[in-house]
Amino acid sequence: MSAVKKWTVFSVRAALDAKTISARELTAEFYSRIEKRNPELNAYLTLSPERAYAQADRVDAMRASGKPLPPLAGVPVAIKDVISTRGIRTTCASRMLEDYVPPFDATAVARLEDAGAVILGKTNCDEFAMGSSNENSAFGPVRNPVALDRVPGGSSGGSAAAVAAQLAVGALGTDTGGSIRQPGALCGVPAMMPTYGRVSRYGLIAFASSLDRIGPFATTVSDIAAFLAVISGRDENDSTSASVPVPGFFAEMQKPVEGMRIGIPAEYFGEGMDPEVRQKVEDGIEVLKKLGCRTVNLSMPHTDYAIATYYIVANAEASSNLARFDGVRYGLRVDGSSLREMYENTRGRGFGTEVKRRIMLGTYALSSGYYDAYYLRAQKVRSLITRDFTEAFKKADVIVTPTSPSPAFRIGERIDDPLAMYLSDIYTVTGDLAGVPAISIPCGVTSDRLPIGLQIFAPAFMEARILQLARAFEGATGDSS
């Protein structure tokens, strides 16, 4: 990777305060980086310079008038293309929405902009966030900036790659079955899935409503906290957003981690894990012990059922949510001689292979005669998986595991085997089903220099505890700069 200056939320603020750079100059610097690097990475699908420079100028005007700057003033960010942005094309990386321009902003986007962030553009992802490698985008795969022949992970691969290559200081992604944390791990950047309900889903184009979450990618744990603080909190436009108070993440994060009980679940360290991943995660646990944490061996017996549960629950919800793409109100229409034929033609040509596969699986699981055997049973197993977490958190303050069983795989390596692809989310989907928060943070690289991620789970609404431990780990391993 070419050595570009690494900006953080904090260094942007320091530079603006010291007047060594303006928000406009910084925005221009990022667009010039994107121009150079995006053709090979394909991380961005759409750029929004008009909106970005208008926002940068507002920040510069505030600074010139001596007004106090909001927390993310002038910070260049990228938004996953499943999150609505007013006036900026939002495609879900699908032919179905290739020309769709939302008339409103998602709450998370509006909050970032209100806090002064500069939205550079929209990032590539798997179509409708369905995938683990970013190869399911209708607009071509994203390449991992660390190793160009490898995937960045998915589905938020463009957001992870953009931040890893410093084409944005931070980015929003979404996590339904590992889609924030797994690409974070594979690209080597911190990536957080907040508690279900912590961040409003208003304006997030729905995949599986009981699972979908918006969360940040950044280059440091402190920056993760800065973004999370801005996007969190109740929103009256999302009835599932929680009225739980948002703590001061920075104050909480400074607390010592000594004595923290780290749960190590045996089921997350079984067969099928790459030996180098195992080694680095075990080394990471040793680092946590040196910081004064205590390990507790645990069992979470239903872990092995999570992928099967997830693929029923998520796809049943997806088959219902994606029924809205029918060629009538927005997006693609392919004409037919009857209404029904128009629906079938539109959906047959607008959706890619993986999306069709999932709609089929979800429709099947909900169809007459199969509902009890598949959907209802999966919802019950979801209760058991959640109970595993509740029980674990009686004995431990946090749970530490690998994020993904392997480092970034080669583009094309798993594309013809959906099941093998699904299994790359084996350590992450449990958290989606249970609703609890988790982070992936870098914990070293393989002998091929491929990044490895360490995952930390905490009980619902305890993001501050995750940040506290992640920051201590980052400080001890020197991954922060």
Binding site: A242, S243, M360
Partner: protein, 100 residues
């Protein structure tokens, strides 16, 4: 075999998806593999387990509240219709549904 070719075509009809011949056969094989894998859920006794539809209830988070039902101006029809593939204000246009 978990799923037949006829079932695949029936489900595609339920989902309003036009599939090519090649897609039907490929999907049949892939869904068969996936459904066989999913069968592992049958190993568990769930007879006394409640289904879980939402994460918030499970964590007994303070009850999410619905917002007050207040009438507000919502003048968005023009912006919405602009995104429609075929519209004639104030309507969306679709192929003829009712035969005379």
């Amino acid at each position: 075999m978990k799923i037949s070719r006829e079932e695949v075509m029936h489900v595609a009809e339920l989902a309003h998806l036009e599939l090519t011949e090649a897609e039907v056969e490929r999907l049949r094989t892939q869904l068969d593999d996936i459904l066989s894998y999913i069968d592992k859920l049958k190993e568990l006794d769930v007879s006394r387990v409640e289904p879980m539809a939402q994460a918030l209830e499970a964590h007994s988070a303070p009850e999410t509240t619905l917002r007050d039902d207040i009438v507000r101006t919502c003048d968005v029809s023009k912006a919405i219709l602009e995104q429609a593939p075929h519209a004639k204000a104030p309507y969306f246009r679709v192929p003829k549904v009712i035969e005379r």
